[in-house]
Symmetry: D2
Subunit: 111 residues, 4 copies
Amino acid sequence: MAVCFFGGRHMNASVAIQTLPEVYDNDEIVRIVDEVIAYIKSTGYKYYVGPFETTIEGDYDELMDIVKECQHIAIRAGAPAVMAYIKVSFKPDGDLLTIDRKVTKHHLDEK
Amino acid sequence: MAVCFFGGRHMNASVAIQTLPEVYDNDEIVRIVDEVIAYIKSTGYKYYVGPFETTIEGDYDELMDIVKECQHIAIRAGAPAVMAYIKVSFKPDGDLLTIDRKVTKHHLDEK
Amino acid sequence: MAVCFFGGRHMNASVAIQTLPEVYDNDEIVRIVDEVIAYIKSTGYKYYVGPFETTIEGDYDELMDIVKECQHIAIRAGAPAVMAYIKVSFKPDGDLLTIDRKVTKHHLDEK
Amino acid sequence: MAVCFFGGRHMNASVAIQTLPEVYDNDEIVRIVDEVIAYIKSTGYKYYVGPFETTIEGDYDELMDIVKECQHIAIRAGAPAVMAYIKVSFKPDGDLLTIDRKVTKHHLDEK
């Protein structure tokens, strides 16, 4: 069974998070979500920003702590309340489908 | 602004979790998911079991720790890998829509 | 392989839908979501109302048409915009885990 | 209020879909999901492939028909059963946050 490492860290999970601040102006939504994405970038994990959610790859326990913090970031950035939608793929000892394997080829001919 | 407590604990969030063990027999899926639900029950929080997800109400940080543990429970119960789908509603100082307010009236005339 | 029928109709799918109207008052959210749930009830399918989502059981194609209509109902009820989160389990010829099998036993000792 | 068109078609919605075939080999999952993505490409809508989900932009009713067809594609490609997770953002007359607005800047400095 393969055990993958990324940048010296255990790579056993892929987590996608959509943080949805309850504010009603698109510019405000974008500003708050950008702070959440800036935080995710600052963690040093491989990440991938999509239209609805940002995916992060790494160690399961650490990713879940990051996911938890994202909502605090949104509140601190000014959202009075926040919804979040999270997807988890966790394979402790297994062959995880990486972001690269799932996405790269499709972006070569994306329009 | 109302701040709600439940059983002496801060009630600022509602979290729904679907833990999906990667096993291919319905009985095995049910057995593993039952262990996850037993764990959720053991935490003492108000919960609500639905067909796809179980909802828990309470303190945001503690709920996110429970959500994180659910996947470890499924792995320990025998799943080689697990997917999870999580919904979060977090209102630090606000008027959260409770499980009771969202569900109770509809179950009076449900068929 | 079992093929299930419900009320004379093909039962090959289970679909859960959360319709989230973009309005900012809890009473308005509840009013609009109640109209969506009333519509789901009116279709005659077996359904189950949970805190975040309502689950419906039946024929896949018909369920997806109902899911599509839910967002139109919310708009007609007054929401200027709507988000929706939908889960689908579709087994054309298989042994679907029914709402009853997934939920009933847990509600006997739910608190 | 802005009404957007894309390629002469009404642009009032953004939909993300994850089609999850119930097969247990990563190569088979990738093969089946690739057929679903090929179908989405063939519809001519603007789309964006992410690690967990593919996002499509366009007319709400047409997008929901595409979403419905994705699961049939997966079954025809060989999956005995399929789960799907769908996100919808629908603004009939409004200012939709487009894929480009949500994603482009972040990919300039993505690692």
